[in-house]
Symmetry: C2
């Protein structure tokens, strides 16, 4: 089999097709990482580093600012949608077209065509974004080679419909437990029902009014929700335990400690026997007040909107690098059998980034 390669002289849409045609389902990114590394090494003006199937390429021009452009190489499993297909309307179909090989194509085109950017650039291509968090290449690079990821501002080229998504909300999941005393249900007065004890807690959730704070001009929208409930021993036994998993999605003006304190306070008088943290990822401030970010917004235009879900933008934020999502893909098409991208959007995204990185 011929070793696949990439031609960075192609336009970004054609390059996207090349990328899609090198399958890279999470865990099998090596051929694509090889092709990306080889293409970048051919450019000359970049220092290229590789760790596993993660490739990082950097300029070293001594600019006042450094910007990171990041994208993952992997896709969800192929669903009979590779190789790619370009239709007569200029729409490119195939696995990863939206999420996010069109974004990777833009990264590679900027790398190839902007040898002297106005800000130093770091291009990060990483693996295993679509699977468990502990396999995520960006997270593993942050742990093993944090110096490869330093910068003043980062753009993650995840599908965002060509709009800028700033920051992201944090997510905390706790398990609240109510307790009672087991008894035969024929003599229920001998026991105490832990499920009934959950009533005030669920009532509190039902009545909860989430905050909608405005941060850096973006309006966030919090949420506090039971996402799982379980309890019960047998059909004739008064249950002694009820467990309720509650997910708090919180705006990035709250840090982890404040988020947890808030949840504790909400349920302070609801008869909760214990509260255990099951999962916690802090949010990320949009960082749009940074000069690099403001120049970026001016170049790409439009209004930034907040990101409600947790993304790798927050991983950059935790490294001290304000970050946004901005990519040509369409988020609602990600992971779908009929995944596709408008090639005009890819070109537009490339042009906007080039304008930002070459302007005065």
């Amino acid at each position: 089999m011929q070793r696949p390669s990439l031609d960075l002289s192609l336009d970004a849409a054609a390059l996207t097709a090349q990328l899609v045609d090198i399958p890279s389902v999470s865990g099998s990114e090596e051929p694509l990482a090889d092709a990306v590394e080889e293409a970048l090494r051919g450019l000359g003006h970049l220092r290229v580093d590789r760790w596993g199937n993660n490739v990082v390429a950097r300029t070293a021009l001594g600019r006042a600012e450094r910007v990171v452009l990041a994208g993952h190489l992997d896709t969800v499993p192929i669903a009979d949608n590779v190789p790619s297909r370009l239709d007569e309307d200029g729409v490119l179909w195939g696995c990863g077209t939206s999420d996010m090989k069109s974004g990777v194509a833009v990264q590679l085109r900027i790398a190839a065509t902007v040898p002297e950017p106005n800000r130093d650039l770091t291009f990060v291509f990483y693996d295993n974004e679509e699977v468990e968090a502990d396999r995520n290449g960006l997270g593993r690079l942050a742990a093993t080679h944090p110096d490869w990821l330093t910068g003043d501002f980062a753009v993650v080229l995840e599908p965002s419909g060509g709009e800028v998504e700033g920051g992201c909300q944090g997510t905390l999941r706790v398990v609240l437990r109510t307790e009672g005393v087991r008894a035969h249900s024929a003599r229920s007065w001998m026991g105490a029902n832990a499920l009934h004890a959950a009533a005030p807690l669920l009532a509190r959730l039902a009545a909860y009014e989430p905050r909608r704070p405005v941060i850096d001009g973006l309006e966030y929208h919090e949420g506090l929700n039971a996402v799982r409930i379980s309890g019960g021993v047998a059909g004739n036994v008064i249950p002694d335990v009820c467990e309720i998993a509650v997910n708090y999605r919180y705006a990035p003006d709250r840090d982890e400690a404040a988020a947890l304190a808030h949840v504790r306070e909400v349920f302070a008088d609801c008869g909760v026997a214990s509260l255990t943290v099951e999962d916690h990822s802090p949010g990320a401030l949009p960082g749009l007040s940074h000069p690099a970010a403001q120049a970026f917004m001016a170049a790409v235009g439009g209004e930034a909107r907040p990101k409600f879900g947790w993304t790798d933008v927050a991983r950059f934020s935790s490294l001290g690098v304000p970050a946004v999502n901005y990519g040509p893909g369409e988020p609602s098409l990600a992971h779908k059998r009929d995944e596709r991208v408008e090639t005009a959007r890819i070109h537009h995204c490339e042009e906007r980034l080039r304008a930002w990185l070459t302007g005065a």
Copy 2:
């Protein structure tokens, strides 16, 4: 191996030991049923019928009333407690001593020693009482040979600590369902949380005041309890369904329709999307006003007390035969490794029944 046999000339305690020493865990009652059938056929004054491992023996003296004495032959699994052992305090130890081979011994002793009772007698020995209801020998006899079970009053010799337990409460289990709309928990306002919708339902249960009606002089005690709750799709999804199983234990002045109507009424305004009956067994009136029952109470003495749990007494009741539990075993020792029975209690129970069935 020698075929086991029973000696009905032994006193009831020694006969209990013989019964215990013929293992009869549910599903393996055949050797014991054989021995019981053989012993009864040897008596001459009884008509003996057998179906499967169920044995029924009857007098046909043309008395004005017919009384049924019933007991199950099976035990829970043996727990290193067979053969039986009689200690120096007159306590007999072993699997089934309390539940309910001491009761079966009393049945057999009455069968052997009261050839001309003042009421016609029907002795029922049945299998599979300790397992799923659809295997229960009494229930299967009721379906296949209802004429074998007719009578004016029945005594089930289940362990009752030598006291009379009258009637029993019914038990209804329904599944209440609340519904919502799924959404990603990062955008919870796009959905509707089915777990939060369960709050008013659980609050209604927590505030519920159960009835304690007095029937035939016995005070019952109802209960309405959630016994199981479940809901949840994933840690980041607003759940669209919550299911709560609720068990209503109700006094026997309510029939099945009234019990179900009550439960529907309790939750009428709680936002329940559906209510499904999962299990329903009606209660049984104590029937203590029947002349045979009053004579029985006079003979055995003491105060009757209500039975909260569901027992085969209710099965007789559904056949139109008022029934009580009255047996020498101790209910709190049933199903235990250290199961035992006081032999004095066995003799007392036998004497009381004989007095009732031979008195004027």
